[in-house]
Symmetry: C2
Subunit: 189 residues, 2 copies
C-alpha cells in the first residue's frame, strides 16, 4: 500500500477531485511522491470503497461533473497507523545516474546533453518551490512560520523538495562540466 497514504496525506488540506490531485502530484506533492492520473483514479475508487475517503458529486455546467474527496475519520486513523509503522529507507532510482555510471565506456555527448537538460528542469522547479514557500508563509519569516504556523507539514516537505532540486542541479552542472573538459583535453572517442 504505497500510494494510498500519499493520497490520504494530500487530501488533508481540503477536497480535491482526481484531476486536481493529478495536478498536485505533478507539482507540490511531487516532493514526496509521483503518480499518473490513471493510478490516482483507481486508488481514489479503492479508498472510497474502503471508507478511508468520502466523495461527493459536484455537478457543473460548462465542464464535466467531478467528484471531490475528503479524508474520513477512518482515513485519518489509517494515516496515524502508517506514521507509527517503520518506514522503508528511501533510495534514489535514476536513469541518468545509470548513464553517468557507464560514462567512461559509452558516448559522452548524449549524457552531457541530458545532464544540462536536467539542470534546467531542476532550475524551474527551484523557482516553483521557492515561490510556493514564499506564498505559504506570507509575511512572517521562515523561522517564525515553522514555530507558530498551523499547518507546516507541506512546508517542510517542500523544503526537502527544494533542497533536493538545488543539490541535483549543482551535481548535474558540475558533472557536465567535468565531462566537457575531459572531452576537450584527452580527445577520446
Amino acid at each position: 500500500m504505497p500510494l494510498r497514504h500519499a493520497v490520504l496525506a494530500s487530501l488533508l488540506d481540503g477536497e480535491y477531485s482526481g484531476y486536481q490531485l493529478a495536478k498536485a502530484f505533478d507539482v507540490g506533492v511531487a516532493n514526496f511522491w509521483h503518480a499518473l492520473p490513471q493510478q490516482l483514479y483507481a486508488e481514489l475508487t479503492k479508498l472510497e470503497k474502503e471508507g478511508l475517503i468520502s466523495g461527493r458529486e459536484v455537478v457543473q455546467e460548462a465542464r464535466p461533473n467531478k467528484r471531490l474527496f475528503r479524508v474520513t475519520d477512518a482515513g485519518l486513523a489509517e494515516l496515524e497507523n502508517f506514521a507509527a509503522a517503520v518506514s522503508k529507507p528511501s533510495f534514489i532510482r535514476d536513469d541518468l545516474l545509470v548513464k553517468v555510471q557507464a560514462v567512461d565506456r559509452i558516448g559522452t555527448a548524449p549524457v552531457i546533453e541530458q545532464l544540462e537538460e536536467r539542470a534546467s528542469a531542476a532550475e524551474a522547479r527551484i523557482e516553483l518551490f521557492s515561490n510556493l514557500l514564499r506564498r505559504t508563509r506570507g509575511d512572517v519569516d521562515e523561522e517564525e512560520f515553522l514555530r507558530r504556523g498551523e499547518r507546516i507539514g507541506p512546508y517542510l516537505t517542500c523544503l526537502r523538495g527544494l533542497a533536493f532540486e538545488r543539490d541535483h542541479r549543482t551535481w548535474c552542472l558540475r558533472t557536465a562540466a567535468v565531462l566537457r573538459e575531459r572531452r576537450a583535453t584527452h580527445a577520446q572517442r
Copy 2:
C-alpha cells in the same frame, strides 16, 4: 526495462556473481539504484539468455559454486542505446516524507523518532561514501582525479550519493528539531 541497465552498468568494472552484485546494490550502486537479490538473479538469467552478459561457472570447494558475469559487446551496445534515449525525470518517493506531510494532523512522536533514525542512517552512509571516494582517488586530489582518472563514472555517481545523504541528513535533523520545539511550546496532543 529499468533494472537491466543498472545491472549492465554495475558489471562494467569486472566480473561479479549475483550474490556480489546484491551486496553492491546495497552499498556503492545504491547511489543510483536499488534491487533485492531475487530480482538480480532473475535479471541476470534474462540478460544472459539475451546475450547481453555472459556467465561462467566457478567451482569452489569450501563454498557453494557461483556464476560470474561480464558484459558482452551486445550488452555494451545496449547501454550505448540506452544512454542516447531520453531519461525519465527522477522523483523522490519516500514514506517518511508522506508522514511529515501529514504531521500536523497525526501524532508527531513516531515521526520525530524516525527522522532521527534516518539522520543516523544517513550519517553512516556519508562515512561510507566518503571513504569509498578517498580510496578510489588514491593520492591525487579530486579535481585532478576527475580531470585525468580513467574510470570516473562510479566516482561521479558516488558524489551524487554523498550529496544526497548529506542533504537528507540536514533536512531530517532540522525537521526533527522544528517538530520537537513545537511540541515543547504549544503543548499540542
